[in-house]
C-alpha cells in the first residue's frame, strides 16, 4: 500500500468515519456474540446440532467398514481474483476521457434557485403558473450542464405530489457555464383547478419542498418550493437547461 501520509487526506477521514460507525455497532451489540443473543437462537442451534449428529451417525453406520475413505470436501468454487488495476481500456472510460478533455461537470459548482415568473395582473384567473430553475456557476472555472432536470415535490406532510411531467421539446445539448453565468430551465405547471376549464387537476396544494436532480450531476438539491400551488393531477412541463 502506498504510505498513507502521501495519499489523499479524505481517505484517512473516510476511514475514521467507518471506524466510528463500526464502533457504534460494536457498542450496540454489547459483549454477547451475535448468534447467542436470544434464548431462541441458542435453542435452535442446540436442536440443529442434535439433528446433525443424528444424521452423521446414520451415514457413518451405512458405510461398510472396508469402503474406501472419502475425504469430504466442499465443491470447489471458482476462485475469483481481485482485478488488476492495469490501464483501463473500456469504451466508457475512453468516452468519459475524451468528453472530459472538452467538458467539465458542474458537480459541486452550482447554486440552485427557483424563480417565479411575474404575470400581468389581468391574468389573475389563469390555471397555470410559470417558474424557472436557475443554476449559477459559483466557481472560478467553466463547467457544463445538460438535459432536463427531474423534480420531486412533497407537501408539508411529506406526501408526494405527482403531476404528469412533460418534457418540452428542445435542444438537449450541453451548456457551458462560464464563472458566474446561469443556465435556466422553465417550468410551466397547472396551479389551479377551475371546474369549467381544468376540472381534473384537483387537488391543488402548495408543496413544501422540491428535490431536484440534474442528469449530469450526482446527488440532488433540496429546495423550499416558493412557486405557489401545484395540482396533483395536473401537468408540469419542463424545458431543457439552456
Amino acid at each position: 500500500m502506498n504510505s498513507e501520509s502521501d495519499g489523499p487526506v479524505f481517505l484517512a477521514q473516510l476511514g475514521d468515519e467507518l471506524a466510528r460507525v463500526a464502533q457504534g455497532e460494536a457498542a450496540r451489540r454489547g459483549a454477547a456474540p451475535r448468534s447467542w443473543r436470544t434464548p431462541r437462537t441458542a435453542l435452535a442451534a442446540v436442536a440443529g446440532a442434535v439433528l446433525v449428529a443424528g444424521a452423521l451417525a446414520t451415514v457413518l453406520a451405512s458405510i461398510p467398514p472396508d469402503a474406501p475413505r472419502v475425504v469430504q470436501r466442499q465443491a470447489a468454487r471458482p476462485l475469483r481474483r481481485a482485478p488488476a488495476t492495469a490501464p483501463v481500456v473500456s469504451g466508457s472510460a475512453v468516452r468519459s476521457l475524451l468528453q472530459q478533455s472538452s467538458r467539465v461537470s458542474c458537480y459541486g459548482a452550482l447554486r440552485v434557485q427557483l424563480r417565479q415568473h411575474r404575470f400581468p395582473p389581468y391574468l389573475i384567473f389563469r390555471t397555470y403558473n410559470v417558474g424557472a430553475l436557475v443554476l449559477t456557476n459559483v466557481t472560478p472555472h467553466a463547467c457544463d450542464v445538460a438535459g432536463y432536470p427531474a423534480l420531486r415535490l412533497r407537501d408539508k406532510h411529506g406526501r408526494r405530489l405527482s403531476p404528469r411531467v412533460v418534457h418540452d421539446p428542445g435542444d438537449d445539448v450541453a451548456v457551458t457555464l462560464q464563472p458566474g453565468q446561469r443556465a435556466r430551465s422553465q417550468l410551466i405547471f397547472t396551479s389551479a383547478s377551475i371546474p369549467s376549464i381544468a376540472p381534473d387537476a384537483a387537488p391543488c396544494t402548495t408543496p413544501a419542498r422540491v428535490r431536484i436532480r440534474l442528469p449530469t450531476i450526482p446527488g440532488s438539491f433540496l429546495l423550499r418550493w416558493r412557486l405557489g400551488p401545484v395540482c396533483d393531477r395536473g401537468t408540469i412541463r419542463v424545458q431543457p437547461l439552456r
Binding site: 479524505f10 467507518l18 471506524a19 460507525v21 463500526a22 451489540r29
Partner: protein, 196 residues
C-alpha cells in the same frame, strides 16, 4: 464444521462480522487501491471519492453475506460491489448513496491537494497523455468520426450526414477508432501499475 470455518477465517472482512472494529483493517488494506481503481474508470476525483465511500459502506452493511474466507476473496467481493456501483453510475450518471446515508457517514470534504494526489495515485495524467497522443495518431477520417460521436455526442445518422458517408460506414469508423485508442492505451508502457 462451523468451528473449522472460524479457525480458517483469518481475513479481516470475515472477522468484522463478530468484531466490527476489524473492518478498519480491511479498509486500510484496500482503500487506496480501490480509489485508484474507480478513479481510473471515472476520471473524476469527486465521483471516485463517493463511489469508494459507497462501496465500503455497502461492504460494511452487508458483510455478513460474504461467504469467502481468504483476503483474495474479500478483495474480489469488494471490487464486485465497486464494479456494480460503477456500472450504475455510468448508466444513470448518479452515484448511489444509499448505504452512506443509512450508516450516517459524513462525507469528508476534498482538501486542496487531494485532487493532485488522486490524479497522481491513479496515474490519470499519464493515461490522459497516452489517450490524447493516440487520438492524434488516429487516421484523420477515424479521428473526425470519433470526435463527432464521443465528444459532440451526435447520432450516427448525423455523423454520416456531416461526413457525407453512409451510416454503417460512420459506425465502422467510430468503432475502429475507439478500438485503436483502446489498443494504444493497453500498449502504453509509461502507465505504471497501481501498487499496494
Amino acid at each position: 464444521m462451523r468451528t473449522a470455518r472460524r479457525v480458517e477465517a483469518s481475513c479481516d472482512l470475515r472477522r468484522s462480522v463478530d468484531e466490527p472494529a476489524a473492518f478498519s483493517a480491511f479498509y486500510r488494506e484496500h482503500a487506496t487501491r480501490l480509489l485508484a481503481f474507480v478513479a481510473r474508470r471515472t476520471f473524476d476525483v469527486e465521483v471516485a471519492r463517493d463511489l469508494t465511500a459507497e462501496a465500503f459502506a455497502q461492504a460494511f452493511r452487508s458483510r455478513r453475506r460474504f461467504r469467502g474466507t481468504t483476503d483474495d476473496e474479500a478483495a474480489a467481493w469488494l471490487y464486485a460491489i465497486a464494479r456494480h456501483l460503477l456500472s450504475r453510475y455510468v448508466r444513470r450518471g448518479v452515484v448511489e448513496r444509499r448505504a452512506i446515508e443509512q450508516l450516517g457517514i459524513r462525507m469528508p470534504a476534498l482538501e486542496a491537494g487531494d485532487y493532485e494526489r488522486v490524479v497522481q495515485l491513479a496515474g490519470l495524467a499519464e493515461i490522459r497523455a497516452a489517450v490524447s497522443e493516440a487520438f492524434e495518431r488516429l487516421r484523420p477520417d477515424q479521428r473526425d468520426a470519433v470526435r463527432l460521436r464521443v465528444i459532440d455526442e451526435l447520432s450516427y445518422g448525423e455523423i454520416a450526414a456531416r461526413l457525407a458517408i453512409s451510416e454503417p460506414n460512420a459506425r465502422a469508423r467510430v468503432s475502429r477508432g475507439l478500438r485503436q485508442l483502446a489498443e494504444a492505451l493497453e500498449a502504453a508502457p509509461q502507465i505504471p501499475e497501481v501498487t499496494t
